[in-house]
């Protein structure tokens, strides 16, 4: 432990619809998703990514910055990040980002990472549960011109500008050495994400981005105007930064739906093709008869 080197991390997180609880009206006519119709959660593997960043910070020092691109309500995952120990959070939000596919998303995130600058690590979850594509991490690394280590499970060693990481492959492990800066996508088995700290939860409860002021005023009418609310939050360091397309100095042709090479051509709700089925009584006799039938048909045995 000779080096006094510290490491700054950027964690890219996503608020995702909880795909376990889907209702019928989640798709819009243009084939994109009406996210407001679904309960939203912190993408699970992004919590593993945040945990890995926090552990680097605890061991070596440095800053952990969490960024998310999403609608105004995505600020919730930023507050959740603050509750867990992030030093700084940034919401990247603009109507111009709407309808982005993974390529346009990675472009937007790249612009944000470059605006922040000064990082050693970028951590992402391996994939998000809403699309399972696992594409945005590698695409962002490519645009930043830095190496990627996908399926990162353990940060084995960190010295100077060099890391050793163990990757969890479907059928084994791989140990790799790489120079920093580097982007890692983190798997669920990497760690046990810490819960929110009760103290920090109280501390950051009021933290909000300006996009939330309107709804906050309904909750706290005593502030009366957005300006007074803004001044109040600003004074307490509770105003969360919001970066729009203009802040990112982005090429607008590369943003949102227009910047996305893939388009949703059509969406079909899944219609179950019903099979003629036989109900088998759930008793010993019924089940023995079923198996006898399968044996007769040479399906079993």
């Amino acid at each position: 432990m000779s080096s006094a080197r510290t490491y700054n991390s950027i964690v890219l997180v996503k608020q995702v619809p909880d795909t376990k609880n889907i209702t019928g009206d989640v798709m819009k006519d243009d084939g994109t998703v009406n996210r407001s119709a679904l309960p939203a959660v912190f993408n699970p593997e992004d919590l593993n990514a945040l945990e890995m960043a926090l552990q680097v910070k605890e061991q070596y020092g440095g800053q952990v910055t969490v960024m998310t691109m999403g609608p105004p309500q995505a600020a919730e995952v930023l507050r959740e990040s603050l509750y867990r120990g992030a030093d700084q959070v940034i919401l990247i939000s603009d109507r111009k980002f709407a309808g982005a596919d993974t390529l346009a998303t990675s472009y937007t995130l790249t612009r944000a990472v470059e605006k922040l600058g000064d990082y050693d690590f970028i951590f992402c979850g391996r994939q998000a549960i809403d699309g399972d594509t696992a594409q945005v991490g590698p695409q962002t690394a490519e645009k930043l011109g830095i190496p990627q280590i996908t399926y990162a499970e353990t940060l084995v060693n960190l010295e100077g500008d060099e890391i050793v990481v163990e990757r969890a492959l479907p059928l084994g492990k791989e140990l790799v050495k790489c120079s920093l800066p580097c982007l890692l996508t983190v798997v669920t088995t990497a760690n046990q994400p810490r819960p929110a700290s009760a103290r920090k939860r109280i501390q950051y409860k009021l933290a909000a981005t300006p996009l939330e002021y309107q709804s906050l005023l309904k909750k706290w009418p005593e502030f009366e105007t957005q300006e007074t609310l803004d001044a109040y939050l600003e004074a307490r360091d509770m105003k969360l930064p919001l970066w729009s397309a203009a802040d990112l100095d982005a090429d607008e042709d590369k943003l949102g739906l227009g910047g996305s090479p893939t388009k949703v051509y059509k969406v079909n709700f899944v219609v179950l093709e019903t099979t003629e089925s036989k109900e088998v009584p759930a008793d010993q006799e019924g089940i023995a008869a079923l198996l006898e039938e399968l044996i007769q048909e040479y399906i079993v045995g």
Binding site: I22, L103, Q148, V176, P261, T275, Q284, I299, V300
Partner: protein
């Protein structure tokens, strides 16, 4: 990367480790042949490695008309950057129409990197690929013969058809087992073009210190009988019943995503859109509700038995035999009946 390409060729990334081609690449070659036939074009295999012997011939036997073979010591073991360099440069130079990659750990690492570098659209985990037309609603422009990239989305509740009208190649990844493999044709002829790639220092910043891989103990794809457990199994102890039934039947153990996420069993056993696609003679679904994501991977099974306490579980809609009951009672009855018959 480009708005117009003259080539209509269909490229397949040939994934190999230690000279053995991944099944998914062979499956994709079969699909690519079908697509190329519709397009009136050729199938090209992109093979990267070092000292691969006559592997390029195997690629041709499995459906390629041409093989681009990048041969270099730095390509011996898969690493993102050297492989991405080779693929990106060749795609930019030759401008194929379609580029297909297996949705394996390797493919899912490589494909997005390459798609970003070429500014191509990429769709993950397609369950079907077709050729079809599209008319843009905005400017009424017609696009002929696009690649329809079809995949379930949102937990499998919808099936989306994705297209990539202008920024080609049209890239897609496909899971192993989704496409059907053809028998190799040992008389099939094709051309092999060797490529000598060059790398710069920035491509080689990552070094593999060690790699330990094991053979998969799970062979879902080729097993005639599969017994799968879902979230409804409820506990690791109950999952033992699923294993035991599979054992008694001489079958393989499968699982839904919920069971894998709950930690009852490893991900290798997962059947479904983000797992393995199977078509066994008999599929027993125990405690699986039947989300489309799961059904997409097993609904072509010859016979399906579903066991569930919920009479309205969607799995019953595709089951040939439905058993409404508690699997912790039903499975032991099945095991007992099978043991009696074996006597």
């Amino acid at each position: 990367m480009t708005n117009q390409t003259n080539s209509r060729d269909v490229w397949v990334f040939i994934e190999q480790e230690e000279g053995i081609i991944a099944d998914v690449s062979l499956e994709l070659l079969a699909k690519a042949q079908e697509l190329a036939e519709t397009l009136g074009s050729q199938v090209c295999g992109l093979l990267c490695g070092y000292q691969l012997g006559d592997l390029a011939e195997t690629v041709i036997h499995n459906g390629a008309d041409r093989v681009l073979w990048a041969d270099h010591p730095e390509l011996k073991m898969y690493r993102t950057l050297p492989y991405a360099r080779v693929a990106t440069e060749l795609l930019q130079e030759r401008q194929p129409y379609i580029f297909l990659v297996g949705a394996t750990a390797m493919g899912r690492d490589l494909a997005p990197r390459v798609a970003s570098a070429t500014r191509a659209g990429l769709t993950a985990d397609c369950t079907d690929l077709q050729i079809g037309d599209y008319t843009s609603k905005k400017d009424k422009q017609d696009y002929k013969d696009l690649l329809y990239q079809i995949r379930p989305a949102f937990g499998g509740n919808i099936i989306a058809t994705i297209i990539n009208p202008t920024m080609h190649p049209q890239m897609a990844t496909v899971r192993e087992g989704v496409m059907r493999r053809e028998e190799p044709d040992l008389t099939r002829q094709g051309t092999v073009e060797k490529i000598k790639p060059t790398f710069d220092e920035s491509d080689l910043v990552l070094e593999i210190l060690s790699r330990e891989t094991r053979e998969s103990e799970v062979n879902l794809k080729d097993s005639p009988i599969i017994v799968s457990g879902g979230g409804g199994v409820g506990s690791e102890a109950n999952f033992e019943l699923v294993r035991e039934l599979a054992h008694v039947l001489g079958g393989e153990v499968g699982a839904s995503r919920a069971a894998v996420d709950a930690g009852y069993i490893s991900r290798e056993h997962q059947v479904g859109q983000t797992g393995t696609t199977v078509r066994p003679r008999l599929y027993i679904a125990a405690g699986i509700s039947g989300a489309v994501q799961h059904r997409a991977g097993m609904d072509e099974s010859a016979k399906i038995i579903a066991i569930n306490t919920d009479p309205n579980a969607p799995i019953f809609e595709i089951a040939h035999y439905k058993i409404i009951g508690d699997l912790s009672e039903v499975i032991p009855m099945m095991i007992r009946a099978l043991r009696e018959k074996a006597k």
